[in-house]
């Protein structure tokens, strides 16, 4: 799980173009949206694409993202349970 969280941090930094951040800068339990990292609705869509491309998880409804993407930890937990790759 730790490895998945570290990988997720690296992937998120790359896909969302957070070039000034390193994995150490991101708190796995901090909120991703609003306060915390401060991501927005476009980032949410990008994360949906990331999940499908890297982990084979397809979300049909964008609103499902609200719960899944609460933090890196919640995201990792969901991926762990539903990944197909």
């Amino acid at each position: 799980m730790d490895e998945l969280i570290l990988n997720l941090k690296k992937e998120i930094i790359e896909v969302l173009n957070l070039e000034d951040l390193t994995p150490e800068d991101i708190d796995a339990n901090a909120p991703l949206f609003g306060d915390g990292l401060g991501l927005d609705s476009i980032d949410a869509l990008e994360l949906i694409v990331l999940m499908e491309k890297n982990y084979g998880i397809k979300l049909e409804d964008a609103s499902q993202g609200r719960e899944i993407f609460k933090s890196i930890t919640t995201m990792a937990a969901y991926i762990n349970e539903h990944r197909t790759i």
């Binding site: 957070l18 070039e19 990008e46």
Partner: protein
């Protein structure tokens, strides 16, 4: 078509010369290649990383030059934001297109698509400064900026409009440079970009890119650069002749002798330049000006021409780099700018010292 006196009160430019620096046209850099990219300011000084990550180069440059021009003009909120761009947001268009084709339409990142629509430039400026007023974008080849400027002047004709931000922006990516190279847009080698207009007769010029923002106002102030007296933008495939220019001047109660400088889009390409050369006798080599040797060739480079002309009118000096005969010119009063695209689209602009 101009109802009220219009002053250029603020200008911001990022180009292949030193950024945001009017003195650059008096001591311009020269290059030895046919593809030159902008000299950019340090973007980290201007943008929060969370916002900057969504902005391609063309957007960052546009926001910086827009704010610079507004600041200079002392305008907090313009009554309109109007953009001209020949190719729009190429970098992000390419990213999305490339990814779409290579990945067979799968796993596509929405951020690139959003950032690719051409009106994003104007809308990002509006979001950045919080401007809910009139907002428009024109994409019309080598006269894209003049299209935007025409709209800006139409807005200025309205009594409730005091200040308009009008901006010309284009970026040249390595891929697009390659595409245009297939169509002989660029010279094979360029020993000295400043001398491109005098380079041996052949096809092509050299590629540049840039962002040029102007703030137009109805009131003059001590910092005003120049007055825009008139603009005529028209479509005439096959070209114009001397009569058209005389007619334009006559409408403004001027004749050929009143023009201190005839500023052209000469760029070293034989076909392009032939069109301008037909007016050499009319004005003489000491009064023929150009600017694409300083900024490079891109679809909105005519905006740079207006910028350069306005700087010259304010400083009352036209440096030798901008004049065909190489003899600098002092105390310019009226500058007439003529730009054409493939001898189909034409623009005439009259700027006057204020």
């Amino acid at each position: 078509m101009v109802k009220y006196p219009i002053y250029i009160n603020g200008m911001g430019v990022i180009s292949i010369q030193n950024p945001l620096d009017d003195s650059a046209i008096f001591a311009p850099q020269t290059y030895q290649e046919s593809y030159v990219r902008c000299v950019d300011p340090n973007f980290k000084e201007y943008f929060d990383p969370m916002l900057a990550r969504r902005m391609s180069l063309i957007i960052k440059r546009a926001i910086i030059t827009a704010n610079y021009a507004l600041n200079q003009a002392g305008v907090e909120m313009p009554d309109a934001v109007i953009t001209g761009t020949g190719l729009g947001c190429v970098q992000d268009t390419e990213k999305f297109l490339d990814s779409m084709i290579r990945n067979d339409e799968k796993f596509l990142q929405p951020a690139f698509f959003i950032q690719s629509t051409h009106n994003t430039i104007s809308s990002q400026i509006a979001i950045n400064i919080g401007c809910k007023s009139y907002n428009n974008t024109y994409i019309h080849r080598g006269v894209s900026f003049e299209n935007a400027l025409t709209d800006a002047l139409l807005q200025m004709n309205k009594s409730h409009v005091s200040n308009v931000l009008v901006t010309g922006n284009d970026e040249m990516t390595p891929s697009y440079f390659k595409l245009l190279n297939r169509l002989s847009y660029w010279k094979e080698s360029v020993p000295d970009t400043l001398k491109i207009v005098h380079q041996k007769e052949s096809s092509g010029s050299f590629a540049g890119e840039g962002s040029i923002s102007l703030v137009l106002s109805k009131s003059q102030n001590s910092k005003s650069y120049a007055k825009i007296d008139d603009l005529s933008l028209f479509y005439k495939p096959g070209g114009i002749n001397v009569d058209k220019i005389s007619e334009f001047l006559k409408q403004n109660n001027l004749d050929m002798d009143d023009i201190s400088l005839f500023m052209t889009g000469l760029n070293g390409d034989s076909e392009n330049d032939t069109v301008y050369r037909q007016f050499f006798d009319m004005f003489g080599e000491n009064r023929i000006g150009f600017y694409r040797n300083i900024c490079g060739d891109f679809y909105t480079s005519s905006a740079f021409g207006i910028y350069a002309a306005a700087v010259c009118l304010k400083s009352q000096n036209v440096p030798e780099y901008l004049i065909y005969s190489g003899r600098k010119l002092e105390n310019p009063k009226h500058i007439l700018l003529y730009n054409h695209f493939k001898n189909k689209d034409h623009s005439l602009i009259l700027l006057t010292k204020c």
